[in-house]
Every structure is written in structure tokens, then in C-alpha cells.
């Protein structure tokens, strides 16, 4: 697949960068962060080592570009296709959707986690925490919407409930990543949805 019709030599630097970023993702999937060396990337991309320094000035620049590319547009799917007037049910569906995102491609989650970690150390890169804020806002909006439709009110500010939902969901997902126990994760999602839903009471 690296020998497509336009895969020859003398391609513009932007395409080279994209090519190397693709290769970097593959390397991350296969060998993890420790195996992400400049040589591993260029070898994987099938280009000479020297290309690397020409395309990116340094390894840090690659990591920065990688974080930018991989982490953008990750927030969307929070309750996208959830259809229910029942708060606990809607919650359960939304939480399950979050779990399924990771279950569908656990390795992506793994290397993204590593990527964010190394990016935090590097002072040059933004930890992209604003993504987290977008998440929070999205969840908040959903919670407010559901409670409104169901004619209930939260016993605490929606923002606080949203924070809890976000954190707790993350915890459940991470637990699955560690033990890969589907039943346990689904049960936790179910109980979490019920528990959180109980924070809403008739208006």
C-alpha cells in the first residue's frame, strides 16, 4: 500500500510528513512508544532515514504533529444517536457508546494514551486539555437536555454531574482496558447509569 500511483520519489514535503505520520501510527500500534524511533518510522515508511530530518526538524516535531492530527475531533460522539426520554436509559446508552469506542479499537486508545503522556512531558506541546473541556460541555449539554425532556432536575449543578459522569466513565473504560472483562464493564456501565440517574428527581 505504500507503492500507490503517487508514491514515487520527489513528493512535496507535506505529503512526506503525512506519509511519515501514517508510518508513525503503525509503529506505535506495533511496538509502542518505546519503539517509536526515527529509524523505525522511516523504515516503516520505506524511505531513507535522512528523510525524517528533512520532513520534520526533530522527533519532538513529529510527536507534536502526531498529537495534533490524532487528537483532533475526538469529542463528538457523546450521546449522538441516543434516543430515549428515560434518563437512566439514555445515560446507559451514552456510556455504553463510550465503552464501545474503546472496545472497537483498543490499540488506538493505548497509543493515544502514550502519546498524550509523552506530549505532556514535552513543554512544547499543548496537552490538548481543551478537548477535555469540549467533552465536559458536550456531556453537560446532554445531561441538561435529557433531564429537561424527562421533566426532572439534577440535585446538583449540571456541571458537577457532568464532571462525575466523565470521570467515572473514564474509570470504567480504563478498567476494561486493563482486564478486558466485557461483562464486568457492561455491568458497571449499567449500574453507573442507574446510580447517576438517581441524582435526578422530579421537578
Amino acid at each position: 500500500m505504500s507503492t500507490g500511483p503517487t508514491a514515487g520519489t520527489h513528493r512535496p514535503a507535506d505529503e512526506r510528513r503525512a506519509q511519515l505520520l501514517d508510518a508513525a501510527v503503525e509503529v506505535l500500534r506495533e511496538r509502542g512508544l518505546a519503539g517509536l524511533t526515527t529509524r523505525a518510522v522511516t523504515t516503516r515508511a520505506g524511505v531513507p532515514h535522512g528523510i525524517f530530518h528533512y520532513a520534520f526538524g526533530s522527533k519532538a516535531a513529529l510527536v507534536r504533529a502526531l498529537v495534533d492530527r490524532e487528537l483532533s475531533g475526538a469529542a463528538a460522539a457523546w450521546g449522538a444517536a441516543v434516543e430515549s426520554d428515560d434518563v437512566p436509559t439514555a445515560l446507559r446508552q451514552a456510556l455504553l457508546a463510550q465503552l464501545d469506542i474503546v472496545r472497537a479499537d483498543p490499540e488506538r486508545d493505548a497509543y493515544l494514551t502514550e502519546l498524550v503522556r509523552v506530549a505532556q512531558d514535552d513543554a512544547g506541546t499543548r496537552p490538548a486539555l481543551w478537548e477535555q473541556d469540549r467533552y465536559r460541555a458536550e456531556v453537560e449539554h446532554r445531561l441538561a437536555s435529557w433531564s429537561h425532556d424527562a421533566g426532572v432536575v439534577w440535585v446538583a449543578p449540571v456541571a458537577e454531574v457532568a464532571s462525575l459522569v466523565l470521570s467515572a466513565t473514564d474509570g470504567v473504560v480504563r478498567a476494561w482496558v486493563v482486564d478486558r472483562d466485557d461483562r464486568r464493564a457492561e455491568t458497571s456501565v449499567d449500574l453507573l447509569a442507574r446510580a447517576v440517574a438517581s441524582l435526578a428527581r422530579p421537578a
Copy 2:
């Protein structure tokens, strides 16, 4: 402090190992996993580099020993000093205690996380997942105890509630580690306790 009364030369290998493990922890705290080199450890311990290979056969052996030593006996404090017949209050106290453990020494949590991560890659080391099971059993016991004292029953098997509590708490704690927002974390703990407590109903 490395020149104590018994800090001279010709100490038994076990003491050398302990000495190097101490130094390794300090290195981890200061420079993280990336800075944990055999030389950094021996320099920190104030011993010649060659000692390392004598004491441990390899760097992997040090990491293994480090995981063993640092990760043992971490489970205890789940609801140790909790005193309340009120389920939500007891829960809140226990959850807060968990949060406080990390808040008291965030760097320990940080390097332990890194350590576990690298240990998982190394096929030779046990991920020490049985610790997680001890946690689970401990939480389960506490939940059962509290509900019994309060004269309520859980709407789901205690094991499932325990799993949720464990996962969700972990999520809240990790969120704090990322944003260091005390108010948010405490609010989440509070809400989580209330939410989970609502999974218990009068017998």
C-alpha cells in the same frame, strides 16, 4: 544520608539491592521512567556503575524488584477509619480517603503508574493484578458491612457494586491527577457517594 554508620563498602548483596532500589525510586521521582538508567541509579546511590550488574543481573531485574517492593501492601486503607452507619456518608469518607492517598503524594502515584506500565510490557514481570483483586474483595466486604449495619440491601450483587465503586473512584482520582482541581474532585467524590448509595434500598 548515604554515608550512614553501616554505609561503607563490602555490604551484603541484599543490602546493595535495597540501596539501589531506594536510589531508583528517587530517580523515578525526579526524572521519571525515561531517566531511569542503570547509571543514574548507581550515581544516585553513590556507588560505581559496575555494582549494578553485580547486584541485579539486568535492568529488567531491577524493575521487577521495584514493582514487587513498591506495589506490595497498597490495598489496605479502604475504609480503615470509616465510622458511620450512614451508607452515603461512609462511602464518601472512604472515597475521600482514596483521593487523599494520591493527593498526599502525587508523585508516588505518577511513578507507580509508569512502573506498572513498563512492567506490563516486560513479559517477565507479573502485572500484579492480584492486588486489584484484593482491592475488590476489600471494597466488597466494606459495602456489605455498611449495608448490613444500615439495614439496607444493594439492588445488584455486591461484587458488581464494588467493581463500579473501584472503577469510578479510579476515574475521579485520575481526573484529579490530570487537572489538580481539588474542588472538582471533592464534588465528584461527594456526588459519586450519593449516587452509589442510592443503589441501596431498605431491606
